[in-house]
Every structure is written in structure tokens, then in C-alpha cells.
């Protein structure tokens, strides 16, 4: 809703809990969207080195690519700004109804 989404906030808590449990964690945040991208700026996804995922940055279209980038970020420690056009062929192949473009910032939880 207009304020802090309970949802987006839960992702930060989940990320903190995972790290407290000894997991290496990266956080992906939607910074900008154009067109019909389903998630708003500020939407978050947390990813662990072991492959756990919480939250969403696109409603399913680019989560796999973002998770892969997040895990790479856990290894290198270097943050990354990713740009996606989510009308690409791969999205269509898996039957996702997605449009628009989205920028996602991926960083390690330190």
C-alpha cells in the first residue's frame, strides 16, 4: 500500500533471519520500472547462497536471472545494477504474461 508494504518489509526480516542463521544473503531491489511491470520500485527479493528465495521483483519473469546474479554477488561482494526488458522471448517461452522494463539493484547483505 502507500506506506511500507508489510510484504516488502517481511523480506528484510527474512534476509536478516537467514543471515543470523549463518546463510550468506543478497538482496535485490526494484529501482525503476517502465510499462506494465507488475512490481513497484522498492519491491525486494532475498536470495541465499544455498538457493533460498523470498519475495519477488517481477511477478515471476526475471526471478531466475536475478537469483543467479544475486548468488554471483554473494561470491564477489560487488553490487550490480541489472536492466531487463521483460517482453523477451524467454519470458514468452515459459508462458509468462509480462511487459515493460525493470531495473534491479543487487547487493550482498554485509
Amino acid at each position: 500500500m502507500g506506506g511500507i508494504g508489510g510484504d516488502a518489509d517481511d523480506i528484510l526480516q527474512i534476509a536478516a533471519d537467514w543471515q543470523a542463521a549463518g546463510e550468506a544473503v543478497a538482496i535485490a531491489t526494484v529501482t525503476a520500472t517502465w510499462g506494465s511491470s507488475p512490481q513497484r520500485p522498492g519491491s525486494r527479493m532475498a536470495v541465499t547462497r544455498s538457493g533460498k528465495i523470498a519475495g519477488s521483483v517481477s511477478g515471476g519473469c526475471i526471478e531466475t536471472a536475478v537469483a543467479t546474479a544475486a548468488q554471483r554477488c554473494i561470491e564477489t561482494g560487488a553490487p550490480q545494477l541489472l536492466d531487463f526488458g521483460v517482453t523477451d522471448e524467454r519470458a514468452r517461452e515459459v508462458g509468462l504474461v509480462c511487459g515493460g522494463k525493470v531495473s534491479v539493484f543487487v547487493e550482498k547483505l554485509m
Binding site: G3, G6, A15
Partner: protein, 231 residues
């Protein structure tokens, strides 16, 4: 993201303090604002974004900053820890509302009945005096007991609450309006009360009624609600 920033964001949310979280792209330098250590131009831009409740990327000088307005979550105060409240409270929490259930009957507000939901056992008017409903707050009375619901509604009507709803049939609501009128509430003020509460979706079961109320709350927040009140 630094763990200390994450903790600061969660503390601010819990204490209902508005903060802006600014991240420089793409290197990830970040501030939880207001912060005296941050560059002046960033502090000013972040304050503007926060006041407008806007989240997005700004160019400040030659730097690109992602600024996230983190205003307090909308609140829902539910009067009456009844069966419908057990469905409504978690549903509203999942929609991003900070939920408080108020009922002086302690047996009703147990953690088994409301896992993970904040409860208060004060009388509703005392509870509302403490919670101070603002324009980001909804008040919903479900107890069906005028001794609980009426004082809560009187408090709610004196506040900026963006939504006030009262469970009960048209007949019950008409009687309620009459009682509140006798207590000095103006008819125009009482037109703010959504009663019968909830969108008309033919709801029968408690979860269905909770859904109809939650849908009406969302409509109110998104500016799509027309209140048609028999008052």
C-alpha cells in the same frame, strides 16, 4: 546493504517513524535519512520524496540515487476479538496493514486465537485514545456489543481515520446511528461509518465477510470507495 541499515529500517517501521533509504547506484553507498552525515543535497531531495511518499531514482549532481520513501504502514484497528476478526486480522496483515485487535475480554484476545497479531485488552475508547488514529488508520468494529463498539466509533469519528466500518445489519446499523445521534454525534459525521461493513459480495462465512471488509478497506485507500450510508 549493511545489516545495521536493515536493522534501522525495521526499527523505524516498528516505531512508525518515517525514514528515507537512499542507495547510490551502482556502488551501493547508502544512508538511512535523516542523517547528519549525508550530503546536504541528498538530505533535501530525500525529505521531498518522503513527504510525497515517492520511491524512485533521482540524479543528484552527477550521481544516481535510489531513494525509497518508507512512511509508516497503514494501520487497522479492529474492535472485538471475535470470529470474523480471526479471519480479518491476518488478511489485513498480508495486505500490508499494521493490525491491532482490541477487546477487554481477555479470553478472546489470546495468542492462540491471534498468532502474530498485536492485541490490547483496554476498553476500546481508552485503546483508541492511546493509538490516536491518523489518516493512515482504519477502525473496524466487529464486537456487536454497543458497550464496546459505540465508544470506539465516537472516538474514531473524532479522528482523521480514512475508514470507519461497523459490523451489523441495516437494522442494527440504523439502531446504532440512532444511539450515536442521541449521544450527540451529527448525522453528517456518522455518514463516514460504513455500515453494514464490507463490499456487497454476498459474503456468508467469517472468512468471506473478512474478505468483503478487506476489499472495502483497499477501495477506501485507493480512492475507489463510495460510502452509501442509511444515516
Amino acid at each position: 546493504m549493511k545489516l545495521e541499515h536493515l536493522a534501522a529500517l525495521r526499527t523505524a517501521a516498528a516505531q512508525r517513524h518515517p525514514v528515507a533509504y537512499a542507495t547510490r547506484l551502482p556502488d551501493g553507498e547508502a544512508f538511512v535519512l535523516p542523517d547528519a552525515a549525508a550530503p546536504e543535497a541528498l538530505v533535501a531531495e530525500a525529505a521531498t520524496m518522503l513527504a510525497a511518499n515517492r520511491t524512485g531514482v533521482l540524479l543528484i549532481g552527477a550521481e544516481s540515487w535510489f531513494i525509497e520513501a518508507r512512511n509508516p504502514a497503514p494501520r487497522a484497528i479492529i474492535i472485538g476479538a471475535v470470529h470474523i476478526a480471526q479471519s480479518l486480522a491476518p488478511l489485513l496483515a498480508s495486505l500490508g496493514f499494521a493490525v491491532v485487535v482490541v477487546d477487554p475480554r481477555r479470553a478472546f484476545t489470546s495468542a492462540e486465537r491471534f498468532p502474530g497479531i498485536a492485541t490490547q485488552t483496554d476498553w476500546p475508547d481508552d485503546a483508541l485514545a492511546g493509538l490516536a488514529p491518523d489518516r493512515e488508520t482504519a477502525v473496524i468494529t466487529l464486537s456487536h456489543d454497543p458497550r464496546l463498539d459505540d465508544p470506539a466509533l465516537i472516538r474514531a469519528l473524532a479522528s482523521d481515520a480514512f475508514y470507519i466500518g461497523a459490523l451489523g445489519s441495516r437494522k442494527t446499523h440504523a439502531a446504532r446511528v440512532e444511539r450515536l445521534g442521541a449521544a450527540g454525534m451529527a448525522g453528517t459525521a456518522m455518514a463516514r461509518i460504513c455500515g453494514p461493513v464490507g463490499l456487497d459480495i454476498g459474503a456468508v462465512s467469517a472468512p468471506e465477510i473478512a474478505l468483503s471488509i478487506a476489499a472495502q478497506l483497499v477501495a477506501a485507500r485507493r480512492g475507489k470507495l463510495r460510502v452509501e450510508c442509511p444515516a
